[in-house]
């Protein structure tokens, strides 16, 4: 500790260079934490769905509906314990930018199949009793500052018109990975007001035995193979993962950018330490002449490097955490359970440490090897 004054004064010697280097490390770590959090959220999003529910959708594409009549046939299939359905409503709340997911659901059966949608009993009753009503996720309520009982107007896109919907229930997700920002409308209401134009977007099946999911899925798709609306059935998890694979390539890109940034910053930090050590060769030699052992002289260099990268790193990580925290962050709207995890923070600190060691190790080693006689001759 008695040497800390010396390290500190050396850091302040070229204050602008020290600060600029620390800032570049901060920027790099900010980027790392943000990108890593997106990747973590992507991985989590692929895990959202349940293995014990199957999703049957149109084989033609995710935006094509399925006939209402499939309800009976799916329900009659052996191994299926329950059937329900949902549809994409796609309304706009005031402005396009306020995007959030709205599902029109076959209310009672759907809720029974989703224990993750946790609603107080009285609110659930109110929702089931009133057609133009909705269940809204806690996160969405907070986002728009809505209150229970409030009526909001959605501008229909799939189903035209202004839809006045009263919020009768608020749900909290039963698991961390389940989204808290969905609005569930009543399918029967949408069906009625659209003059029976609505059709189920997908069916949800509950299984007797999750282990039989794969066999059952292919049996169901076989059932509709030659109809005018062939189906594609998969576990809910696979269904969600299908959405996510689209993001998979982005994950690769994000990682590649991250690595490029890392090496760019490594060069900056390493260059700083090289310069700092080189312009001080004479002083390091003097310390050695005074009897400072090699390890001590080189640890001055190494500690200095670590102080720069770690202070920059901590600033970057803290700022990223503040900017991306669950409530305030824009990314939380797209990824359920989006947050900066402790693992990400620890990895970030690890990277800052590695940056410090790697950029300081060569000048530190040179300082240890430095011949006092030669160095002092050069100075004089």
């Amino acid at each position: 500790m008695k040497y800390s004054g010396l390290v500190w004064k050396n850091l302040r010697r070229n204050r602008r260079r020290t600060i600029l280097t620390a800032i570049s490390v901060a920027v790099a770590l900010f980027l790392f934490v943000a990108l890593q959090s997106v990747l973590t959220a992507l991985a989590a999003a692929g895990n959202v769905g349940s293995e014990s529910r199957l999703v049957t959708r149109s084989a033609t594409g995710i935006t094509f509906p399925l006939p209402q009549s499939y309800f009976q046939r799916l329900g009659g299939t052996e191994g299926v314990k329950g059937v329900s359905w949902g549809d994409w409503f796609g309304g706009i709340y005031i402005d396009q930018r306020n995007f959030f997911a709205q599902f029109a659901i076959d209310a009672e059966r759907y809720l029974a199949m989703y224990p993750e949608i946790q609603v107080p009993e009285d609110q659930k009753k109110a929702f089931l009793a009133e057609r133009a009503s909705a269940i809204v996720g806690r996160g969405l309520m907070n986002r728009f500052g809505w209150n229970l009982g409030q009526t909001v107007v959605l501008k229909g896109t799939v189903y035209p018109g202004d839809w006045e919907i009263t919020i009768r229930a608020v749900y909290t997700p039963g698991t961390k990975s389940f989204p808290d920002n969905v609005m569930y409308l009543r399918y029967d209401y949408v069906y009625e007001r659209s003059n029976h134009a609505a059709e189920p977007g997908w069916y949800i099946l509950k299984l007797d035995d999750p282990a039989s999911a794969a066999a059952l899925a292919s049996r169901i798709d076989g059932l509709f193979k030659n109809s005018s609306s062939p189906t594609k059935t998969e576990t809910e998890k696979a269904f969600q993962a299908g959405f996510v694979t689209m993001w998979g390539n982005i994950g690769f890109l994000v990682r590649a950018i991250g690595i490029a940034v890392f090496f760019a910053i490594l060069l900056v930090a390493a260059n700083t330490m090289m310069m700092a050590a080189r312009e001080r060769i004479g002083e390091l030699a003097v310390l050695k002449a005074l009897g400072y052992p090699n390890w001590l002289v080189s640890s001055f260099v190494l500690v200095e490097s670590l102080v720069i990268t770690l202070s920059g790193g901590v600033v970057g990580i803290v700022l990223a955490r503040l900017a991306l925290s669950r409530t305030g962050g824009p990314l939380a709207q797209f990824f359920p359970g989006f947050s900066v995890t402790t693992g990400t923070v620890m990895t970030g600190l690890g990277i800052a440490t590695v940056l410090g060691v790697v950029s300081g190790i060569v000048p530190a080693w040179q300082a240890a090897r430095l011949s006092v006689v030669t160095a002092l001759r050069q100075v004089a």
Binding site: K2, Y3, G5, L6, K9, N10, R12, R13, G282, E283, V286, L287, K288, A289, L290, G291, Y292, P293, N294, V372, V373, L376, V379, A380
Partner: protein
């Protein structure tokens, strides 16, 4: 027995393919409490000898004993620790650390000891008092004159009370008046504090202050 015993020491440098022999089979005795001036033409090997005595460099052959310790046998690590304990070095260009105050510069050798902060402060204050810079402790080297800087350099050399003080042209970069002050100081350290001092100098006037003068010529010392 002399404090310093140099026995048939040779030193040569390898420069590319060329071997430069600075001296061969040199003997030198320095008694405890002596103030010795080393003189000789440029390139004769005065600095090289001083570096050998300080354990900063090793001879090609021969032995050097200081206070009974054979420093030519020590490992680099032990030699470093030995130097911290026994040698106070004064440089021609002062070699103070510019980011540290005079006080902190003088304190540097003491950081290697087990002294407490209060004890260190006391020793530094004493050293600064000896060189007459008590009121300059908080000044940075750039705020001091050359003579004052060299006095800080001397305070740094004596603060840990080393066995001997080695000075390589301590007045080489100073005007006559400042040089005189430095020589007075070294002389006082020798007479008053009984310090053993070996000083390299070009200046005949400087060498007059020493008790003994050795001339290094063509690789041999002559009294």
């Amino acid at each position: 027995m002399a404090l310093v015993e140099v026995r048939s020491v040779s030193k040569s440098f390898q420069r590319d393919t060329q071997k430069i022999t600075v001296f061969e089979g040199v003997d030198l005795d320095v008694a405890e409490g002596e103030f010795l001036a080393l003189m000789g033409p440029s390139g004769s090997g005065k600095s090289t000898m001083l570096n050998l005595l300080a354990g900063l460099d090793q001879p090609t052959s021969g032995t050097i004993c200081v206070g009974g310790d054979e420093i030519t046998q020590m490992s680099p690590k032990r030699l470093t620790a030995w130097r911290a304990r026994h040698i106070g070095f004064v440089f021609q260009f002062y070699n103070l650390l510019p980011v540290l105050t005079a006080f902190e510069n003088v304190e540097l050798p003491l950081l290697l000891t087990r002294l407490s902060k209060a004890e260190r402060r006391e020793h530094v204050a004493t050293a600064l008092e000896v060189v007459g810079l008590t009121d300059r402790g908080s000044h940075y080297p750039r705020q001091l004159s050359g003579g004052q800087e060299q006095r800080v350099g001397i305070a740094r050399a004596i603060v840990s009370d080393p066995t001997m003080i080695l000075a390589d042209e301590p007045t080489g970069d100073l005007d006559a008046k400042s040089a005189d002050e430095i020589l007075n100081l070294l002389q006082r350290l020798n007479t008053e504090f009984k310090k053993t001092i070996i000083m390299v100098t070009h200046d005949a006037k400087a060498s007059e202050r020493a008790q003994a003068v050795m001339h290094l010529e063509k690789g041999v010392f002559v009294r």
